[in-house]
Structure formats: structure tokens, C-alpha cells
Amino acid sequence: MTPATSEPQTPLLAVRGLGKQFEARDGRKSESWVLRDLSMAVVDGEFVTLVGPSGAGKSTLLNMIAQVDTPSAGEIMLRGQTLATGEHNKLNPGWNRQIGYVTQDDNLLPWRTLIDNVLFPFEVYGGVDAAAREKAEALMNAVGLTGFEHYHPHELSGGMRKRAALIRTLVYDPPVILMDEPFGAVDAQTRLQLQNDLLSLWRLGRKTIVFVTHDIGEAIALGDRVLVLSRAPAKIIGEHPIKIPRPRKIEDVFSLPEFPTLYATIRAQVG
């Protein structure tokens, strides 16, 4: 046992000098870097939010961490183990279920009912047992989807589908969860509800979360720490610890006295 010291905790997830160039149509690397020399670290149980302008490369960054896209340079590490580097990068999506990914589109399977979508992670890996069902039902209940188990995605509102996509990732407990503007295309009221749902779920589970958004208010209200991404080639240009105590209610965060200053500072950086 190491004694508790002021030594910084080794990060659960670390990204070092990450770079990405997409291949041009003729197959060669294009000249311009979408991401360049990007480094960040996330400790266990931390809720990090990442803001950046649209087209900055936020999705590209998450894709590389989730192992569905390859970096052109740099290194991605999980618990000190290298997942991918610019040189060696054989894709292993989700890194054996260690990294969950809630994408901007819900990507629910349209032919499956809601409950079968939520149970899908068990079906593809390990099998659906009573414990899995219980867990799925508890999560559906926590986000107000009870009663809609046997509906198909097209029969539900956008907000409900987002909730289903969210708990489909929470249900199998990946230690790291990436979220790419998961509450993008819903109305303000639903969005607030979803954000509060996410916070209460997170309080129960305390996963490590990297949450990408272009909404600065959302980044402040949800995160322990806000990282600011520059325009392309993207790198981290700002870091803001958020000292607002938890449990938080999103609507209350917006009326805190420190909120406007924080917002203005980040706003200025995002540019």
C-alpha cells in the first residue's frame, strides 16, 4: 500500500502528443493536421468535459481513444498500458469493453425493442442473465423509461432514444465512458432533464467520463474539470477546475455567482 501523499495520482487514461492527419482521396496523408500534439490525462472517477468549436476535432479525438480510428502520431494509454501509437495501431474497438462510447447519434438497432437494445451489450458478450435484466430494468427506471421496454426506437422521442443509448453503455460498466455531444439534438427542456439524469447516474456509479460538447454552460455544469480545445490543428489550450460542490442541479449551476466569470473566461478561450 502506498501512503496517501501529495504525489499526483497516475492517470487512468492518458493521451500524449496525439496527432491526426486524414488520408487524402488519392490515398496519401493530407498535409493538414486535424489534431496536433494533443496531451491530456484523466484520473479514475473523474468527469472531464471537453469544449471546442465545431469542426475542431472533438469527435476525431474520441474516435481514437475508443479505438475506432487510428492516430497518426502520439500515444494513448489506459492504466499505463499503451493502446495505440502513431506507429503501431491495430484497432480494437472499445478495448475489450474497457472504453464505452456514447456517440452523437443514438445508434440504436431499429429492429430491437428498447429493452433488447439495452441488453444488447450482454447479448454480444457474456450472455443475458437475471442479473443483467435486473440491471437493465433498474437503469431504465432511473431514466424514466419504465413502461417503454417493448417499444421500438422509431416509436420514441429523441430524448428517450438518447436515454436508451446512454444506459446501453452504462449497463455493462465500462471503466471509461466517452460521450460525444450526447444531448446535441434535443430541445432545451429535455436536455436539462438528460443532464440531470446523467449526473444522478454518475453519482451512483462514479465512472470516469470524458464528455465532449460545444456548449460551454453544459461543460461547466457537468464537469470536475473543463478542457478547452483550440481550432484545428486541435490541442488543449485551457484547463479549468470546476469547484462547484456536488451533488449539483444543472439549473442551479447557471445561477451561481461564479458561473458568469467562468463562462466568460472559457468563452474567450474557445474564440
Binding site: 475508443a66 474497438p93 472499445g94 445508434n107 438497432l109 429492429w111 444488447f120 447479448e123 454480444v124 422509431h154
Partner: protein, 260 residues
């Protein structure tokens, strides 16, 4: 459907039958038979079992051939999904095979497989293989890469992806292929039976015609029509059952309930 609609439909049917009866009175039973004679023959051939035996040959050949063609036609696109190089090499040959007018092969198939059911089976297999293959391939290729990626992130490996994502996504396309090729299998069999056979509804149509028995031909044609109609209804029903999750507006193919 309203009562009025049913009455109107029956009325149109009666008029058509009356026109047929009048035509035959005018130019002679000898050429066009008549509804009454066909009805009598239908009863006779049903009671002596002729229609059951001959339909059995036609349906049996069609189903065996359809299965032999449709199963590989539906499976091979799944195998080629992860082998793009092989798929690209085979592509022109498959396209050529699809373009070949299969009915034109019938004389050769009869030389190779004889006048029994196997030449019909071979014909139908070659027809349904290409129809199902290209439909399935369109489905497999059209699947959203995001859905596959999502399944992989959730821990699905190749066989699970194929079974739980690609298969259900491609199923509407496979069934669209079935909807076209299953009825085509039956009419294709009948046409091959007309060319050379000693059994089957196609044979019955042909043999009756050449022995100046239009009543026999009409009876066999009507039986064939009834079989095809039933097959179409069954295919549509099973499709509706399988796709009951779909939003009505996006339903595959024809608008559902448009006749209701």
C-alpha cells in the same frame, strides 16, 4: 373493405365471365373453351387427383430449386463482406451470371439433366441464386458502418456482428429477393415444363393445347394463377410479420394497408 366494394368486384367478375362465355358461343368452344367447361374440368381433375399430382411436380421442382439457389445466394454475401478483394474479383462473373437469360439455358439444362424435375430444379436454382445474391449483397453493403462500430465497441466480435447486426439489417433485402424469386421460380418451372417434361402444370398446359383441348390448358393456367396468388399472399404476410417493428411510412416496398 366496404360491402359496396365487394359487390362491385363480384359484378365485374361476373361480367368478365359472361363475356368469355359469349365469346366462346360466338367463335366456338373449340378455340377458347368456356367458363362452364373449365369449371367442369376443374371438378373432374380435382376429383381424380390430376391437379394435385401435376401441381405437386411444379411446386416441388420450384421449391427444391429455389432452396438450392436461395440459400447460397443469401449466405455468400455474408462471407464476402470481410473479403473485399475476393468480392471484387468475382464481381464481373456474378454480374454476367445475373445478366444471362436463364430461361434460354433451358434446352441445355434438359440435355444435361433430362426431362424430369432436375432440369427444372437447375433452372430455378440459377434464377433464384442471382436474384437473392444481389438483393442480399445490396443489404449487406448498405448497412450503416456506425451500427457495426457500435456493436464492436460493445464487445461484439465478427460472428456476433454478422448474426445480430448484419443479418437483421439485410433481412428486408433478402425478403425482397424472395418476393421476386419465389413466384418466378414457380412460373419458371412451368415454362421449362412446357418445353420438355412429362409432368407438371406447364406440361399440362402444353399437352392440352397440342391435343386441341383449350379447356385443359385453361384449367391448368387457372390452377397456376391460384398457386402464384397464394404464394404472393404468404410472402407478403410473413414479411409483414417479420417487419412489424417498422414505421408504416418507411415500410419496405409497396405501401402497406393501401388496399385496406
Amino acid at each position: 373493405m366496404s360491402i359496396q366494394r365487394i359487390v362491385d368486384r363480384i359484378l365485374v367478375g361476373v361480367i368478365l365471365l359472361a363475356l368469355w362465355q359469349l365469346t366462346s358461343l360466338w367463335i366456338g368452344f373449340y378455340w377458347v373453351s368456356s367458363p362452364l367447361q373449365v369449371a367442369q374440368r376443374m371438378v373432374a381433375w380435382l376429383s381424380d387427383g390430376t391437379l394435385f399430382t401435376e401441381s405437386g411436380y411444379t411446386i416441388g421442382s420450384a421449391l427444391i430449386g429455389f432452396t438450392l439457389g436461395a440459400v447460397p445466394g443469401a449466405v455468400i454475401p455474408f462471407l464476402l463482406r470481410r473479403r473485399p478483394v475476393l468480392a471484387a474479383i468475382l464481381d464481373p462473373y456474378l454480374v454476367a451470371g445475373y445478366a444471362t437469360p436463364k430461361l434460354a439455358l433451358t434446352p441445355l439444362l434438359i440435355v444435361w439433366f433430362g426431362i424430369g424435375i432436375w432440369s427444372k430444379v437447375a433452372l430455378v436454382a440459377s434464377i433464384s441464386f442471382f436474384l437473392i445474391f444481389f438483393n442480399t449483397q445490396a443489404g449487406v453493403r448498405g448497412i450503416s458502418p456506425q451500427l457495426i462500430r457500435m456493436a464492436e465497441i460493445l464487445g461484439a466480435r465478427e460472428t456476433k456482428v454478422a448474426r445480430l447486426v448484419v443479418w437483421p439489417a439485410a433481412l428486408p433485402y433478402i425478403l425482397a429477393g424472395v418476393r421476386v424469386s419465389l413466384p418466378f421460380s414457380i412460373s419458371g418451372t412451368a415454362i421449362a415444363e412446357m418445353l420438355s417434361a412429362n409432368h407438371g402444370l406447364g406440361y399440362l398446359i402444353q399437352a392440352s393445347a397440342v391435343s386441341f383441348d383449350p379447356t385443359g390448358s385453361f384449367t391448368a393456367i387457372i390452377t397456376l394463377t391460384a398457386i402464384l396468388t397464394i404464394v404472393n399472399i404468404l410472402v407478403n404476410r410473413s414479411e409483414r410479420r417479420i417487419f412489424n417493428w417498422r414505421p408504416a411510412a418507411a415500410a419496405f416496398g409497396r405501401p402497406k394497408g393501401a388496399l385496406g
